[in-house]
Subunit: 408 residues, 2 copies
Amino acid sequence: MGLIVQKFGGSSVATPEKIKNVAARIIKEKQNGNQLVVVVSAMGDTTDHLIDMARQITDNPSDREIDMLLSTGEQVSISLLSMAIEAQSEPVISLTGAQVGIITNKVHRKARIVEVHTHRIQRELEAGKIVIVAGFQGLNENDDITTLGRGGSDTTAVALAASLKADVCEIFTDVEGVFSADPRIVPDARKLDEISYDEMLEMASLGAVVLQPRAVEYGKNHGVPIHVRSTFTDSPGTIVKEVGLLEKELVVSGVTCDKKVSKVAIMEVPDRPGVASQVFTALANDNVSVDMIIQSIKRDGVNDISFTVSEEDLKKAVTSMQKLSDDLGAKGVVYDMNVAKVSIVGAGLGGNPSVAAKMFKALADLGINIEMISTSEIKISCLIQERFADQAVQGIHDIFELGNGTSS
Amino acid sequence: MGLIVQKFGGSSVATPEKIKNVAARIIKEKQNGNQLVVVVSAMGDTTDHLIDMARQITDNPSDREIDMLLSTGEQVSISLLSMAIEAQSEPVISLTGAQVGIITNKVHRKARIVEVHTHRIQRELEAGKIVIVAGFQGLNENDDITTLGRGGSDTTAVALAASLKADVCEIFTDVEGVFSADPRIVPDARKLDEISYDEMLEMASLGAVVLQPRAVEYGKNHGVPIHVRSTFTDSPGTIVKEVGLLEKELVVSGVTCDKKVSKVAIMEVPDRPGVASQVFTALANDNVSVDMIIQSIKRDGVNDISFTVSEEDLKKAVTSMQKLSDDLGAKGVVYDMNVAKVSIVGAGLGGNPSVAAKMFKALADLGINIEMISTSEIKISCLIQERFADQAVQGIHDIFELGNGTSS
């Protein structure tokens, strides 16, 4: 007998009919002899609906009251899912984040879990019950309700799995697992049987969002295996776990692409100490997250400094840089929204220059110009023009022979 | 500076626009120099909508999970109302029943408040905040969410007023106060300036439901003045408080009518000791509440036993009595749904036979036959045919000169 933590997202519980299906799936797992803790998100578009009501009241609600409002969404899901399980005569109990004892810091709307008290869950499990837990929410030390931010239910599930020393944390989604590339772009993309936490983190940060990065970090720090699998089939998905280098057959696990990226450059910045620091301090002060950074080689006492930001931060970044350009006596700011970042992810890439060379060859073969490059231990990213992105992903996927062989 | 507890029902906060109006009203009272604790119900038909979702899952949800579900309704209201107050730059905080420290017994769906911890509210009031509290809900000693049953937000408000030693508990409704009769039946019915707790209890139990009886009881036991007033005007409503007999100008405060009542009679029951006990034990075992009871005078060794029940309990009562009739060798069961109970309510009625005589005269003048009579210290009720009910209420209202003189 094992202890399994399962997580079902909002689309899996969007309607009463879907809730009944999830209930059946949970009961089957229970009848296989396992103890079950199930984390649930708010039904379908409930969160959007609640936010919309708040907007009808005020443009600027406080984060505390937004958390008070949003946390009702999961509370509705857990009660309905529990009723569906009760209806099949299985012992079950629903618990809010507060009742579970998920203690967070005080930051509303993106709180971090600092502690999980498991005695209530333990007691209910020992009484033979399936425990249904509201994802995404916790309680801070002021006894106020907090929420964990986008994808927070994943973090709830992994944190519970860690605290309960569960055998596995299963995250149910509408895809079959983690793929070597987006199957909508690369038809012969292959489902990965397993992937390391670090690779998964890179995948997530590169736009292939099947798991909340903080949940992956939590899993990594506590050694919780995370099984990403489909709500709609019984076949196994992808297991995220610590994978030793020697165990890996493939160096490259997957190819990802982020089209929601923009390039900004501040031109002909005087080359004196502290200038780069001023640039990135200004961006940090305006809450702009920066990804790739390139400083050109000095020419005539001036540098160009380029970086990428998400499309939604572009306006803020440009405004911030135009002001700084004036202050520094630089030549001005240029930007480009029509770029995309294609990346390969894989354990040990950093130590293997031939892999980078192969990726660049794939792009060169397609006549695609590389505008920026950045590398880490487990990924290599190239910024290219957005219109070539899909082609680039397919070409790189092919050159590393990542496909399942069904594509031409 | 006073401390005021206000309660707004679901219709007062049914839309974002109405929530903003309520916020304005609360802020005005705060700016008058008062400390404010505001209890809110779920918006409009939220509770019905939630129950409907539960029904789509199962016909027989557990009371615990229903409470988990329904308590989200008030949580949405308090967060939205708090946002509306924040938007006007007034310090405010919303609190759930659990956060307030409303501790109830373990009975789900109709829990009773056993204790109120006020330290959190006190702290927030001392910090200068308006405190918005979720009505209708509490927490039991298992840390499970409970709800207080129909009209439970009234009880929350009065219980908080008692625990905080508030100056007054204001219950906002869609009527202007408590009237001498239903103004839809009696056009010249008069708004009462004040009424005693006991009279209010009788009014409530007789179908004039402006205040939850348990809230009135709580107010009576703790000496909390309850001001029933309109959400839509600033004019004073009716104050429910302890009223000494000598203070009262009128013996009769009001006339009420309950049409949702049925008469049941079990005919020719053998007259032997314990028979009446058997009848009412059988009804109690079937959870039927009985109101008026009459046992006819013995004739030929048999009695007729008649009683009234609510229309919704009629079927259960008749089934129960038919079985008992067979067991006892009685002649059978008859029943009548087309009856109504008209009542007068007033302090000291019990000691004043002339009042009863006057009421019976009003009915006699209209040619209305009285089928059953019951009396208490503060009310006299007559069961009559339902088709005469409105006429009877008007006639009794006239004979006691309760009107404001505008009617013919």
